[in-house]
Symmetry: C2
Subunit: 222 residues, 2 copies
Amino acid sequence: MDEVRLIEVKEDILADNQDLAAKLRAQLRSSRTYLLNLMSSPGSGKTSLIMRTIEHLQGRYRIGVIEADIDSTVDAEKVAAMGVKAVQLRTGGFCHLDATMVASGLAAFDLSAFDLIIIENVGNLVCPAEFDTGAIHNAMILSVPEGDDKPLKYPLMFSVSQALLVNKTDYLGLSDFDMATLKEHTKRLNPGMAIFEVSCKTGDGIEAWSEWLAARVAAFIR
Amino acid sequence: MDEVRLIEVKEDILADNQDLAAKLRAQLRSSRTYLLNLMSSPGSGKTSLIMRTIEHLQGRYRIGVIEADIDSTVDAEKVAAMGVKAVQLRTGGFCHLDATMVASGLAAFDLSAFDLIIIENVGNLVCPAEFDTGAIHNAMILSVPEGDDKPLKYPLMFSVSQALLVNKTDYLGLSDFDMATLKEHTKRLNPGMAIFEVSCKTGDGIEAWSEWLAARVAAFIR
C-alpha cells in the first residue's frame, strides 16, 4: 500500500493571505489611513450602520467605503449620495473578501486623501472571519432577531472582532433575546470586546459607537 | 454625489486562475501526464468510480489520484490501498479546487512517472465548474437519485464537462428518473458530451467509460 501524502492547501492559502494583509497594513500605516472591516450576516444592518457612522464622523474625517455585500438592498449608490467615495467590489457570489480583493478596492483610492475607509464585507458569519483583510480593526454586527446564542455558533467571528454592535435594539421588546446572556457568551470568547447596543433605525447608541471608532482613527492617523 | 467605482474582483480572480491552469496544462503536455478532473455532488460516487477505473486501467497506465472531497467516506487511504499513489488535499471547507491548489497537489508527484492523474474535486455542482483546474478534460457524475432535471439547475457544470457518468443505474427501477429526458437536456447544453450509464456497485458500464478515458490518455501521452 502506498502512503498518502497530506497537503494542507487551506493553510497555504490563509498564510499567503496573511502575508498580503500585513503588507496592506504597512501601506495603511504609511498613508495614515485607518481601515475598518465590518462583518455580519445578511440583513443585520451593515449599510445602515455605515451611513449612521458617516453622519457622525463626516465633518471630522475624510471617509471612504468599500462595498462588497451583494445582498445589501442599500448599496454603494446610497453611500455615494452622502458625498462619500464608494467603491463597489463585484464578488460574484464569493462568500468572503480576502486581502487580494481588498487590495483591488484600496487601489481605487488615493490613500493619502482618506483618514478612514470602511469595508462592508460579504454578509456571512463564517468565511469572512477566516480571512485577514488587512484592516486595522474588525467590527461585527449581530441584530436582535438573529438571537443571543450566536457566539456559541460562530465563535471565530466573535473572537476576531474588536467591537460588537448589537443592532435593532428596537426589537428587544418583541423578542426573547437576552442581552445579559449574549454579553456573557461574548466576554467568555473575547474578554476585550467592546459592545455597543444600537438601533440604526432610531439612532440610539450610534454616538457611543462612533466615538469609539473616532478615538481609534485619531490614534492611528496622528 | 460621488460616482461609484465598480471593480470586478471575481473576473480578476478567474482570469488569474485561468493563466495558472494554462501553465499547468503546458507542464502536463511536456511530462505527458493526462490530468482528469472529476466533479459531482457529494455522495454521487466519485471515489467509487475512481476505484473502478483504477481496476480497469491499472495494468496499462501509471495512475495517481489527487483527493479533495472532504465529505467522501471512502478516502485517499482506500485508493492508496490499491497500490496507487494518492495525495489528499485538506481544503478545510472550501467549496471548490482552483489551479493553485491543484498545482500544490501535482507538486507531490514526479510527473514523468505518471500517465494519468485523476482529481476528485470537492463535492459540489456549482463552484468547481467555474474554476479551471488545469485538467486536460473534465468528467462529471450525476447519480440517479439526484434526478433527471439537474442539467436545468446546473447548466455550467454540464457545459464544461466532456463526459457525463450517470451512476447508480441500479436505482433506475425504484425511481421516476427518465434517462431520455436527461440526455435530451444534456445534449441541448453540450451536444458533444459523451454519456455513460454506469453502476459502480455492479460494475455495469464501467468498461465503456474506462475505454473512453484510456483512448484519451493514449492519444495525449503518445
